[in-house]
Symmetry: C2
Subunit: 182 residues, 2 copies
Amino acid sequence: MPDTSDSLSEPTIETKRIYEGSIINVRVDTVRMPNGISARREVVEHSPAVCIVPVDENGDVILVRQYRKPAEAALLEIPAGGVEEGEVSEEAVLRELQEEIGYTAGKLVHLSSFWVAPGWATEFMHAYLATELTPSRLDADEDENIQVVRVPFDDAVAMFKTGEIQDGKTIASLLLAKPLLT
Amino acid sequence: MPDTSDSLSEPTIETKRIYEGSIINVRVDTVRMPNGISARREVVEHSPAVCIVPVDENGDVILVRQYRKPAEAALLEIPAGGVEEGEVSEEAVLRELQEEIGYTAGKLVHLSSFWVAPGWATEFMHAYLATELTPSRLDADEDENIQVVRVPFDDAVAMFKTGEIQDGKTIASLLLAKPLLT
């Protein structure tokens, strides 16, 4: 079988809109598979997003702790958020840094871009390393309640094993940034 | 402010069920934030899942390529899937390996567990390294169309930069497995 997208593509036969929300929409597509069978695909629509590994002059990474309703727990993560209408990724990075940790960055390096749940969600995440940090504050969203936590970089990586960090984008992004910091 | 979950927790005041589907459900919770404000939380419910880094005796990682409707593209990922009712994670790992790549594993090592989109989804992913692979086939789901792709491990890691691999769980899991393979 040739290894091309064509042999795998799934044209949409029908789309049913289920829900239009504030951060997500939901639709169900009926698609035709290459073998002729039709199948249902549940799709959660979400804006593109950014996540950022902010590292200060001491080599500490600045993390955020916030209550995550789906997890019913306060999780330790790197700063992140949706790319807003009219923004490019780097603008969203600098805005989120100012809103969530109170810093802006003199230097950004793109680490990678990835789908967070490609089987059923459209969220595409752009990961950046941010250094040359200087204080700069923008007001956070009223419905966000965020604590800032500084951790030596290697201690943060060790937290993947202990379960103190249990967030996919944080694990991927810290490990992508690691070779650039040593 | 003390760094405890209590100071961040968000009790549910009201839940509205939006959609009951086959791989996802959707609800909207109204919560009370610690500052007394109420806020809406859109939550996509998804089963726990597993993802697997299968490495053969040559040091190749066995990846799968499948069309992902939310991405409208055929993506290269590690094997993965939901944990089914009555299964423990390791059983789901061995089932998915047999369904998606036609192998079972003599050795599994837990790498880490993480939320894939903790802001709005309940999917919790358990990542494993699988070695001592031997052929064993279970039929794949009828609505899945999967191509198997073998790649030298270091080549796969290089694909994060080229964009040939654009999947969060794959990036996180390969980088978690890397120190165990050298």
